[in-house]
Every structure is written in C-alpha cells, then in structure tokens.
C-alpha cells in the first residue's frame, strides 16, 4: 500500500480549503473526477424547517418556560449561524416533568384501552410522514447531516418505528410466552445528537406502546427534533403528561437520571456516560437500557463482490459523517485484494461531495460541534504521529462550519489508537488479514460489540463468521441497515438490551 499519498500531521488539520487544487500524487492510474463530475448546487430551503425563534420545555401537554428563565443558543454546525434559542431545563423542571409523567401514567395512560394507546402511536407515525420535509430540514440544520440522509434514512425509519410499535400496544400478551407484561412507569429517554429524531422514536415508540410515559431529554447539541416531535404528539392526541421533553445540558440529564420517579433510564450515547448511569442507578430499584458506542469492524474476503463491498464501507463509516454507534471504523481486508480495495476506496473518496448539508448532492455534511471536529482532528493527528499511511481526498471543504473531509489510514496495527478508540468522525483505519481466524480474532479484540460487517460470496462462511463475531448486529454483504422490526444493540461494553423488533419491547416491560 505504498501507493497512498502521505499527508503530514500539519496538512491534515489545516483548513481544508488549503488542500484544494493539490492533486494527491498517485503513481497509478486514476480517474479524474474533478473535471467530469460537477454538480449544480441544489439546496433545500432552510425555510421549510419553520423554526421558531425560541423553544420552551414541553411538560404536561404544554410548552412552558424554564423555571429559572435560562436559554441556550442553538447553532447550525454547517454555517455556525444561530438557529434559535432553546430552554435550559433546571432540576426543578425535570421534577415537574417526571411528576407530570407519573401522574399521566397512573391516571389516564394506564386506564386507556390498549388499542387506543396504539391509535395515538399510529397517528403520530402519520404526522411524521406528513411533515417529512419540515422534519428532515430541521434535522439537517440542527446536526449538519446531509439532507439526503435525513430524508431517505432517518425520517422513514422514525415514522416506521411508531407504525411498528403502535401495533404492539394491544398485543403485548403474545410477546412474552408464559408471562403477563406490565408497564414499568416513567421512562427517561436520554438520547444522543447523531440521529435526534430516530433516537427519540426508538425510545418513545416501544416505551409508549408498552404503556409507559416518557420524559425525553434530547442532546443539547441537537434538541429540535424532540421538540417538534412533542408538538406532533400533542396533535396526535396523546394525553398531557404522556410525552414530555426537557431540553438542556449535562446537569439536566443528570437530574433526570437521578430522579426517583424514573423507573427506567433508556440511554443512547457515549460508553462512558452509559457506565456512569449504570453506576448511578446501583443501589436503587431503577433500571437502565443502554445503547453505547462501538469500534466496529468490517471484514472483506477475497471472494467478495468488491464494488458492492466498497459501497458498503462508504455506507458503513461515512454515514452521518461518521458519528454512528454502529459505524465501521475498522476495516479488515484479505491481503490478496487489499490493494484493489484501497484503490477503489480512494476513488470513492474523490467522488464524495463534502459540503452544504442542505444540498441534495451532498454525501458528507458537517460534524455537529466544534469540539467533535477538534477531537476528530486530534485523532487524525495522533494517527499520523503513529506513523501510519493516510489518504485524504482532494476535497473542497467550506471554510465556515465544522467540516472534516473523509480520511483513510492504511498500514494500521492492532495496537494503534486508530483501531482502539472510537473516533466518531469520517475516519477509517484499514488493516489486512490472511485467514478467517485472524480476521475474527482482530475484529473481536475490543471491549465493544455493537455491530460488524462481513463480505464474502460464500454462504457457509457467512454463517460461521456471523456466529463468531461478538456483536449485537452482523451485516453480511450489507452495512448500516436499520428497520423497526429488527433488534439492534450492543454486546459487551456496547450496551444493554435491544432497540427494535419484538426483543426491543423487553426493556420497557415488567415480567415478574
């Protein structure tokens, strides 16, 4: 793999604009994408997000100002422009929200016939479908992800999540043989910023279908989807208090996790936070369901359909600019095809459009915060310091906004930070292997176990390898596919419990 371009630590963290017009010196044949593949700009209008100037907390069916009058500014990571102001919930607000959820749980929600609960969820699903454009643009403005992904990936999944679980509401008796599931009470949904709407849907839908009420605490980085969802829940006819949204930062989240009125904390986010939640709940009767990070591996065998496998890698690691709990940031390629895979990947990198997330042709948008961008830059720098070979596409990246062009690292060793630490950015570490045993051992050699991918044309090998990979999801000849009927979640340190499907109900019911 000596053919890859060396970039220095300095170059990697330079503003990307400085990299323009510098063709990477590649000795081998390569396609000239720059002159042929020009797209006209076709941005969505930011207006369709219909953002308000200020967002309040949603408690007991009403939008209410925070008790101590504090608001934080919410920015568009692609332009660094202020979008709106959002309420900073205090512990007193959290208390109000949990009490309203508790009252709704004991009062109206538990007494409602199960099929009526289901109808509320069905209506919410329909409303999400109706507002696809508004919600998709909101997601993109709030997180920096490409509109293509908001619209084609996140929105339908979020709506379908409600459709799927709506139907469970009056069929729970069939879900757990020999047991009669009961709701557990107030669920605290503490969710991450990477898929704000989808994460909210993943926590809300099964929790509500099972008869619980919810206090949702979206990430401070991307709170808008949850607030819009609250408005839709109101329209869908959920009784006041069944769905509450308290926005805010770490202190707000901690107050919610520590609140004694919460029966279950359903968390999606960083592994360290998940562990801290587990510890905080020790000594109480309260439980947690965790959806945490992963250093996920992707195995390509020599008999793979290489073009599709390369597409899979691009979906695997560059979806959402990298911050996906199931992102495949470690690639293991069988030695005999390593050279061709890396070449094809580099070609694909050249064709990825990095830029305005609202543009329909954009493949890679902005990272949601400056902190994350700096973390990714530091990670890349550390990778270069470890002496590995890197390749970054010759991409024009906007000057403003938190953009990071995709990076490949080759000649990576198992001990490098690149293969050990979760990056949460568009950074791929590539290693080679000779035998399946070696690939499996390397893939499993991490404390995490969220997801993995395997590419091969041999069916028997797929079943053998899928069985040996210690992850909650295995994508065979595919990657980063999601569906509401399909349980996903981590083994080992990547989580507790599953989201999605029949198994996704288990966290939200009491069986004893």
């Amino acid at each position: 793999m000596k053919a890859t371009t060396k970039i220095t630590a300095k170059a990697a963290v330079k503003p990307a604009s400085k990299l323009t017009n510098k063709k990477p010196a590649r000795p081998e044949r390569c396609l000239d994408f720059k002159t042929v593949w020009n797209y006209k700009a076709s941005p969505e209008s930011a207006e369709s997000a219909k953002l308000e100037k200020r967002y309040e907390l949603f408690i007991d069916g009403k939008f209410v100002p925070p008790s101590d009058g504090a608001y934080f500014a919410n920015f568009n990571p692609a332009t660094e422009a202020k979008l709106c102001e959002v309420a900073e919930g205090s512990p007193a607000d959290v208390d109000r929200a949990v009490k309203s959820a508790r009252a709704a749980f004991e009062g109206v929600w538990a007494k409602l016939p199960a099929h009526e609960r289901g109808k509320c969820l069905f209506r919410l699903a329909r409303l999400i479908q109706e507002r696809t454009s508004e919600l998709a643009v909101t997601e993109t403005l709030d997180t920096g992800k490409p509109i293509r992904e908001s619209r084609a990936f996140e929105l339908p999944l979020a709506a379908n999540q409600f459709f799927y679980y709506a139907g469970w509401a009056d069929k729970l008796g069939f879900a757990f043989p020999g047991r009669r599931p009961r709701p557990i009470g107030v669920v605290a949904g503490v969710i991450s910023w990477n898929f704000p709407l989808l994460m909210a849907a993943r926590k809300l839908a099964p929790a509500l279908a099972a008869g619980n009420t919810v206090v949702l605490k979206p990430s401070k980085t991307a709170p808008l989807a949850a607030l819009k969802l609250a408005r839709l829940a109101e329209e869908a006819g959920f009784p006041p208090g069944v769905v509450n949204v308290v926005t805010g930062g770490k202190a707000t989240g901690e107050a919610l996790v520590a609140h004694e009125g919460v029966a279950l904390v359903s968390f999606a986010g960083a592994t360290e936070t998940g562990k801290a939640i587990g510890k905080a709940l020790a000594g109480t009767a309260r439980r947690c369901a965790l959806e945490l990070g992963g250093k996920n591996a992707y195995l390509i065998f020599e008999d793979s359909a290489i073009d599709q496998a390369v597409d899979g890698i691009v979906d695997g690691v560059f979806l959402n600019q990298g911050p996906v709990l199931s992102a495949s940031s470690r690639l293991y390629v069988q030695e005999s095809i390593a050279k061709v895979v890396v070449r094809k990947l580099r070609d694909r990198l050249e064709t990825l459009n990095v830029g305005d997330p609202l543009d329909k042709n954009t493949d890679v948008g902005a990272l949601p915060t400056r902190e994350l961008l700096q973390r990714v830059q530091a990670h890349v720098k550390a990778g270069l310091a470890e002496g590995v070979t890197s390749y970054q596409a010759d991409q024009q990246v906007p000057k403003k906004g938190f953009f990071h062009a995709p990076v490949l690292f080759t000649d990576v060793a198992q001990s490098h930070r690149l293969t050990q630490e979760e990056v949460f950015g568009p950074v791929l570490a590539i290693q080679t292997f000779r035998t399946a045993e070696e690939a499996i051992e390397k893939a499993n050699n991490t404390p995490s176990g969220m997801a993995s991918g395997v590419w091969t044309d041999k069916g028997s090998r797929i079943f053998s390898i899928a069985r040996q990979l210690k992850t909650g999801v295995v994508w065979a000849n595919a990657y980063n596919k999601y569906d509401p009927t399909s349980p996903a979640g981590g083994c080992k340190e990547s989580g507790l419990g599953r989201d999605g499907g029949l198994h996704g109900l288990a966290s939200y019911v009491e069986l004893n």
Binding site: A282, L292, A466, V473, D483, S486, P487, E493, L496
Partner: protein, 280 residues
C-alpha cells in the same frame, strides 16, 4: 474429618492461599475443612471458564441438554451422600431427600430447554428492505454466580443450570454457611462428563470475594442470589465497569415451581441480529 477442595478447570485442588475454614454440623460433632478461596483462585477459575467457553458455547444444544440430563442421573446416584450433607447443614432426613429430588428435577427441566428456548425466543424479522433478517440468542460468555446462602443444593443447581444450558461457562461461589453440597456437586459434574472449566466452584466468603466476582473485566455477567441491599449495590456498581449483564434472584424458596423458567436462561443470552441481502 473430611477435607473439601475447590473445583476449578475440571480438577479438585486446594486453594492456592492455603487458607481453610471449618464447617461444624448442626448436630453431633461432625466437621469438615473447606477452602477459603482467594482472589487468585477466582482469577484462575475465570481463566478456566474462558478457556472452556468457545467449545461449550458452540456445542450442539441437544448435546448440552444431554449432558445436563447425565448430571441429573449422576446426582441421583449420589443421593445418599448429598442427603447426609444436607442433614449436617440442618435439614431433616425427609427435607434433605426432598431437596435432592427437587435438584434432580430442576436439572432435567433445564436439560429439556437446551434445544427449545432458541425456537421460542428467536425471530425472523420482516424488514421492509430486500434482506433476510433473523435474531438468535447467543450466550454472553463467562458468568460469575453468587449462589444463594440458603437451599445449598437446589438453590445452587437452579443458579447454575440455566446459565450453562444456554452455553455460558461460570464461576460459582457456594454458600458460606452451607457449603458442603457444592463441592460434591463438582464431583457429580465431573463424573457426568461435563467438560472441564464449564462450571468452576469455589468455597469461601462472599464478604471477601464479592468485589472480585463482580469487577473482573473478563466476566460478562453476574448472577446475584440474595437480598442484601448493600451487596446488590456493589454488584451493580461493579458491573457497570464493563457493562456486565446482571441478574438478581431474590427467591428464597428455590424448590418452588415458580423458581424455574426459560427467562432465567434469557438473563445471560445476547440477541444477535444478522442481515443478508436477498437477490431481486
């Protein structure tokens, strides 16, 4: 006086610490020496359990079921000895016999689940895209078990059987106050042909070993039997270090019918979902 060893990696050893404690019978002057296991003993047992896991977890479920049935047979064959030990631990002859019988029944019950729980609890998922998608249960790995202080045989068997029938290996800390049957159970497992390392049994004190049992980073799950709030807090705090699966079994009456069920197996199973495209 009888000297009991500990059962690690299919062998009966003394504790590496050279420490022992004495058990005195409820009545009469019968007494025995038992190993006061150390943290090192625990670590060795985890190594043994990890070593046994790959083969045990990939064994045919029916084969695991048959082994459990053979354990039940072997246990029945040791009825007299186990019953005597139970009587030393304070049970009447009738109660001791009933407990042995309940333990045999419990093993047979879980033996039967070996090749069935997967059918009941796995799923084929009707995803919208053109993929074949299915979710199966797989064992979590190495489970540490803090066995119940009471019902020293049926409680122990009820803790171990669902864990291993699902393909996990385990390290067990036997009851400190009623430890006699635990080592004898080890002999039963050995004579029934259970592979070395699948079940490892230590005797000693919970107060000393609880931290190690719950914080070891190569342990994937903890089964805590008991009601002590402080202990349970430690279990959950330590489990959070590497997100161990925790199952809490407060049941005092392990003989009861309600104390058994497939959900005890599920406590230490992971759901794995596999996707594969369907050609269109």
């Amino acid at each position: 006086m009888r000297n009991y060893g500990i059962y690690v990696d299919g062998k009966f050893n003394r504790t590496e610490s050279g420490r022992y404690f004495q058990f005195r019978a409820a009545q009469g002057d019968w007494a025995a020496n038992l190993c006061n296991s150390s943290r090192k003993d625990f670590r060795d047992a985890v190594t043994a359990a990890r070593g046994a896991f790959a083969k045990w977890s990939s064994a045919a479920p029916a084969a695991r079921g048959q082994l459990l049935y053979q354990v039940a047979e072997a246990l029945e064959g040791r009825k007299a000895q186990l019953s005597e030990e139970l009587q030393h631990q304070g049970l009447t002859a009738a109660a001791a016999e009933a407990e042995v019988q309940a333990s045999v029944n419990r093993l047979i019950y879980y033996a039967g689940w070996a090749d069935k729980f997967q059918q009941v609890f796995s799923s084929v998922n009707p995803v919208a895209s053109s993929h074949y998608n299915f979710s199966v249960l797989e064992p979590v790995g190495v489970v540490s078990i803090l066995a119940p202080e009471e019902s020293p045989l049926v409680g122990l068997v009820s803790a171990i059987a669902p864990v291993i029938v699902g393909g996990n290996s385990c390290v067990v800390l036997a009851s400190s106050s009623r430890p006699l049957c635990a080592v004898t159970l080890g002999e039963v497992l050995q004579s029934a042909g259970l592979p070395a390392g699948v079940v490892n049994i230590l005797t000693g004190f919970r107060s000393e070993l609880l931290g190690q049992f719950t914080s070891h980073m190569d342990v994937n799950g903890v089964l805590y039997c008991g009601e002590a709030a402080e202990e349970l807090k430690t279990v959950r705090e330590n489990a959070a270090l590497n997100v161990k699966r925790v199952s809490h079994s407060p049941r005092a009456d392990s003989s009861a019918e309600e104390a058994q069920g497939p959900y005890a197996i599920l406590s230490f199973q992971e759901v794995k979902t596999t996707w594969h495209p369907i050609a269109t």
